[in-house]
Amino acid sequence: MAPKPKIRELLQESACSHNKSRSGACNAPKPGATTGGCAFEGAQITLFPFADAAHLVHGPITCLGASWETRLTGTSWPGRDLTQMGFTTGISTNDVVFGGEEKLRSAIDHIVHHYAPEAVFVYSTCVTAMIGDDIDSVCRKATEAHGLPVVPVHAPGFVGSKNLGSRLAGEAVLSQLIGTREPEKQTPFDINLIGEYNVTGDMWQYTPLLEELGIRLLSTLSGDGRVASIRTAHRARLNVLVCAKSLVSLPRQMQERYGIPFISVSFYGKRDTSASILAIAEALGDAELVQRARALIAREETLLEQKLEPYRKIFQGKKAVLNTGGNKSWSIASALQDLGLEVVATSVKKATEEDRYKARQYLGEQGVLMTEPGQEQARIIDQTGADLLLAGGRSLFTAIKKRIAFVDVNQEKKKSYGAYLGLLNLAEDLNNALHNPVFKNVARRAPWEK
């Protein structure tokens, strides 16, 4: 089991803005009125992108059976992409009665023998936590026997939300991997990317630009990640936390332990991408680097503007309503504004205090911050004469009823909308949606309807 004081500490993360204003922000889920994933899923999201490590789920079939091969996290790892494989002890009634430690031990042996991973992450789950399997001991012995890190991850689903699970995964990496190896070389511009999972290759939209500036990715947690690199992460000059608030504990603790400063950035849209590149350069504290960064930003923005030119005319005067969660409530809004659309409303239902603040900054005083988007969005579309609704599939019917174009915001899980080039993908998809007659066609009345 995860130690209780640790969980409490993670729930009251001091670097988390909502913990300053409200207490119990990450409180227990409400039976019968809860959506969203569990701590195990959070841990999985955070660590699975390590494609050179095997991810062994010690639990019944539900935990892995419904969740493997679900996220398109790109990797350049030349070996077999273990992220897209599923390993589970798939415990049975027998294991529940007699314990699953022996099975777990043999499962680790099987994986090391057949797949030669760089490390094995072992995830506890609700059932194996309940039956009290000593996963730490099994992992410790396996580490010695095989001479590679076998890392226990204590984030059984029932301890809390996805966010908490991500933090617990960060804890596992901090306590078991970071600082266990020295890098072959060091540069003054070594950074760690934290909370970037490279879904649909998002990070590859901007990492070549950082490299061009001479900024070196020492390690990532965990997009296109390598176990060998994350072990050296304590030697970085800067931690860069990308969009994901869930991992904020880790850079804060690394700052305390290793004196590494951290900054929080976003690579959605032109302005945020430029601001982030500049912020990284500035945080590394080299005047020449900052100058190079400014030049690169100017070059990239000019290039992008040229490519966006044809879209500008199309998007001019178009109004969009955005209904999504978390940091997307402002980051996508920012990207839409970069394309020349007016964002008349955004949902802040699932956003943190800081997200709400940023959303207000981007939308201005006129913009509507929707707290109950399900009820509000139809009315706002009418009032503002919006042309486009960006939301999850649940809102599709609102768009059809209002006869306006619809964009599924979850498309980004299939296609990168990140950084400068991703903005072009977004522009193309918005353009296609605005010109697609399907929403009006579907709204046709049947001949027998009055």
């Binding site: 409400k30 039976p31 019968g32 009125a33 935990c63 091969e69 679900t70 042996d109 029932f158 599939g393």
Partner: protein
């Protein structure tokens, strides 16, 4: 008949395709109109299931969780979280039924579902579905059984022209509809339990519902015993048929392991002719039988030289194997998610209960794979032909509209497999 390997000595599953019992239970409840499936477990069990089914059907999925935490797992006997969940659900919506089903977590702590359900004053059916045993089929089958045992009113006599269809979990919404129409064509009134054909068939509804929209009504379930004939399809549905027989001893029961291919469809047609006292089926059925005969001949050359790997749930495997065998396919390897009596009946060289790692080990034995989304990487890795079937099938739209059953669906399936086999032989 080849060898059947029911148990591999292996401490883990690598690239598993076995799915969980609670997921099967939830899906069965989604075949009931206005139902709210309530999974008793951690919120992750429900979230994974919801996302899984949403992606498979491209439809919003109604389901709620009792959101058991580490604290309530120890301190609560289950009643606290279930009572609160029911309160919170009914504060917002009014389900016709709440479908309470357990998970490994709550079975490990040993919650008394029956006791709790009896204390709650709301229409509710409960089912024990731990995910450390069984699978998708058994979760679906157990739930159907529970629905019958807990809802159906006992009856002394039945109406001869009413048929109860009990379809297994791998039948798509449109397949259930096709079976219902086929049976109705012989003059019967048909009720299917569960009935996904009107709930998850991918229809555009007027409004986003928080409950299942479509399916058999609770009222119709209560009156199921008032029938003349039960048709169970798939071995996982045998127990449900037996449960219904207990409600009305005068009912007749015919069991079909599957309804794919010429022979099985002939058997169903013969059965329906017998019970309807008719000489001939509808003209359309006669026509489709001829088309299937022709398709079998058209496909036999391509399929006769194709060595097939079948992956999936036992009731699905049984039908697909039979249909492909009728056209001469060589069924080299069958991988089943769980054990089942179906496995002994399969005409295949090797039948194995296992994971996709076993398929990799034996990849030289087959040219074409029929299986779920997870077999795509396998097929690509080894350059095999691929026909996607089963749960999950995430990257493909139209899963709910696909029909492989009876004369008509059999023709479509054979053509699809034959074309895929030819394409892969020519390296596309």
């Amino acid at each position: 008949m080849g060898e059947v390997i029911r148990r591999i000595d292996k401490p883990l599953q690598v690239n598993p395709f076995r799915l969980s019992q609670p997921m099967g239970a939830a899906l069965a409840f989604l075949g009931i109109d206005g139902c709210m499936p309530l999974m008793h477990g951690g919120m992750g069990c429900t979230s994974f299931t919801k996302v899984f089914l949403t992606r498979h059907f491209c439809e919003p999925i109604a389901i709620q969780t009792t959101a058991v935490t580490d604290v309530t797992a120890v301190l609560d006997g289950g009643d606290g979280s279930i009572v609160e969940a029911v309160k919170n659900i009914t504060a917002k919506v009014t389900p016709s039924l709440i479908g309470l089903h357990s998970t490994g977590l709550t079975e490990t702590k040993g919650d008394d579902l029956r006791g709790i359900a009896s204390q709650i004053d709301y229409p509710m059916v409960y089912v024990h579905s731990p995910d450390y045993e069984g699978g998708l089929e058994s979760g679906w089958g157990k739930t159907t059984c529970a629905l019958i045992e807990q809802l159906v009113a006992p009856c002394q006599q039945g109406r001869r022209n009413k048929v109860v269809l009990l379809p297994h979990v791998s039948l798509t919404p449109i397949e259930v509809e096709k079976l219902k129409e086929f049976i109705a064509g012989f003059g019967f009134e048909v009720q299917a339990l569960p009935d996904l054909s009107t709930s998850l068939d991918g229809h555009l509804g007027e409004k986003q519902s928080a409950l299942s929209s479509g399916g058999i009504t609770v009222e119709a379930i209560r009156e199921l015993a008032d029938a003349g004939l039960i048709l169970s399809v798939g071995d996982s549905m045998r127990l449900s048929a037996e449960a219904l027989l207990k409600k009305n001893a005068t009912l007749c029961h015919r069991h079909f392991p599957h309804l794919q291919g010429l022979e099985a469809t002939d058997q169903l047609a013969a059965c329906l002719l017998e019970f309807s006292h008719r000489e001939l089926p509808p003209a359309g059925v006669i026509r489709w039988r001829k088309r299937l005969q022709d398709t079998l001949l058209d496909c036999h050359f391509a399929l006769g030289q194709t060595r097939v790997l079948l992956v999936g749930e036992p009731d699905f495997l049984s039908g697909a194997a039979q249909l492909l065998r009728e056209a001469g396919s060589q069924i080299r390897l069958v991988l089943s998610s769980v054990d089942s009596p179906q496995l002994d009946r399969l005409t295949a060289d090797t039948v194995l209960v296992g994971d996709l790692e076993e398929a990799e080990k034996r990849q030289q034995d087959f040219d074409l794979v029929v299986g779920n989304f997870h077999t795509e990487a396998l097929a690509r890795r080894f350059g095999k032909g691929l026909v996607l079937r089963g749960f999950p099938n995430w990257e493909v739209v139209g899963n709910q509209l696909r029909n492989d059953q009876l004369y008509e669906g059999g023709s479509a399936f054979l053509c699809e497999v034959a074309n895929a086999a030819e394409r892969s032989r020519h390296g596309h």
